[in-house]
Symmetry: C2
Subunit: 253 residues, 2 copies
């Protein structure tokens, strides 16, 4: 048992993500947070298992947070913690946990670190409303903090701020054994590889083998094969089997 799995008792550390915002569902804003969070969590050994994108509607946010926090080690949320009327994430998360919410003196102090007291109007003070019992997540970019309550971590939607919050909170989280991966590029069509690949997948039940077809600039078909496993020996054996299969199918010209 390696250090990470010993630390976590060998169990997998999982996560769900709730992306909050009408602007993503209307197509006005192209989400950049899912990809970033997926990549960072994978590196850290936290398996992102499900993402939900929901509207700025309290009942929808509550339902998504409650569904995912019951299933996964952690739930991250992005969006809806700014100063405007449509920023309702903090209230929705308080509702999901059945706790109250008020202006938090620690969060207020963080805001005053960035703006003058005269600028701290009622709208900006909304950004200091934190559910009872939550700890704060530092925002190195623009101070208004995120927060963590139970296993739910609430972050901003602006990518640069979200990324800073994610880096601030990651050191506090349990990590699993990271998923390792190796890939092989086959200059062959996916449909010609699929049969032998399925046989390899059956031989290595502890590896996950993904197949991603592409066409190169010259219009030739190819397939990227990605082998993933937590155990390095399993990874190497499955990768070798895939590489040998590919070499057999596309011999050097």
């Amino acid at each position: 048992m390696d250090e990470a799995s010993e630390r976590t008792g060998g169990r997998e550390i999982t996560a769900g993500l709730v992306v909050i915002g009408d602007e993503v569902l209307s197509g006005r804003t192209k989400d950049q947070n899912i990809g970033h969070i997926a990549e960072r969590l994978t590196v850290e050994g936290i398996d992102l298992r499900e993402v939900r994108v929901v509207a700025d509607v309290e009942a929808d946010i509550v339902a998504a947070v409650n569904a995912l926090r019951a299933r996964f080690t952690y739930v991250f949320t992005t969006g809806g913690i700014g100063p405007t009327h449509d920023d309702i994430t903090a209230d929705a998360v308080a509702r999901a946990f059945g706790v109250g919410i008020d202006v938090d003196p620690r969060a207020r102090a963080m805001l005053l670190d960035y703006i003058a007291e005269t600028e701290l109007n009622e709208a900006r003070l909304r950004m200091a409303r934190i559910p009872h019992g939550a700890s704060l997540v530092v925002n190195a970019v623009s101070k208004a903090p995120g927060f963590r309550i139970g296993n739910v971590i609430v972050m901003a939607g602006v990518p640069r701020i979200m990324q800073a919050m994610l880096e601030a909170v990651l050191p506090e989280l349990e990590k699993g054994r990271p998923m390792l991966s190796r890939s092989v590029t086959a200059h062959a069509k996916e449909g010609d590889i699929a049969g032998p690949l399925a046989a390899i997948a059956r031989r290595f039940p502890d590896a996950v083998i993904g197949s991603y077809p592409f066409r190169d600039e010259a219009g030739r078909f190819g397939t990227n094969l990605v082998v993933r496993a937590r155990d390095e020996a399993v990874l190497e054996a499955a990768h070798a089997a895939v590489a040998a299969m590919v070499a057999q199918m596309s011999p050097a010209a």
Copy 2:
């Protein structure tokens, strides 16, 4: 009542989207389909209300499809309909509907329109497996079809193919009254606008007003305000109120 709302009895036409694929959850592939589908549906008057990204796990796909098809007019899925062992969407959707699944002669004929019979191996034939009772969705790019069963529309994950399938199926779908939108750029911080903006939002309950802060190249703060409404008169009145508020806050120098 305009033509579209007459056609639909005035009811809103809604949609959910299930993005299927380990590669999105691991961060290996950055999803490009959510943004495209969101934008196209919005233009067509179909409200995308929720997106779920799930892994290549049958139980997860079944749960997501069944949860969303009960709530929305339509459910779209992307991904998992290729020839490899990890392409399990068609089977999962058949399971969700409790129907059988077999190689469909119509789908098989479509494949043979693109590849020679000698190339139609067992793996490629998987792409012709269609749940009983489904109609096919034409794939103008690489022939292997998507399908529609009940209110669920199953599409490929490769963006170019997904887009062709979406265009093929959209003419068959009911459309609602499209959401109209107008935006105003304020050269002011979101926190200074939030108070008056909330008052305008209260005055126009049939409009949705979103607020999106940005910093320009020179590092100056600004806020894009987007007013959305189905009724043109409501849109114009709410937009005028927002524009007047912005003009008052940032008078011409």
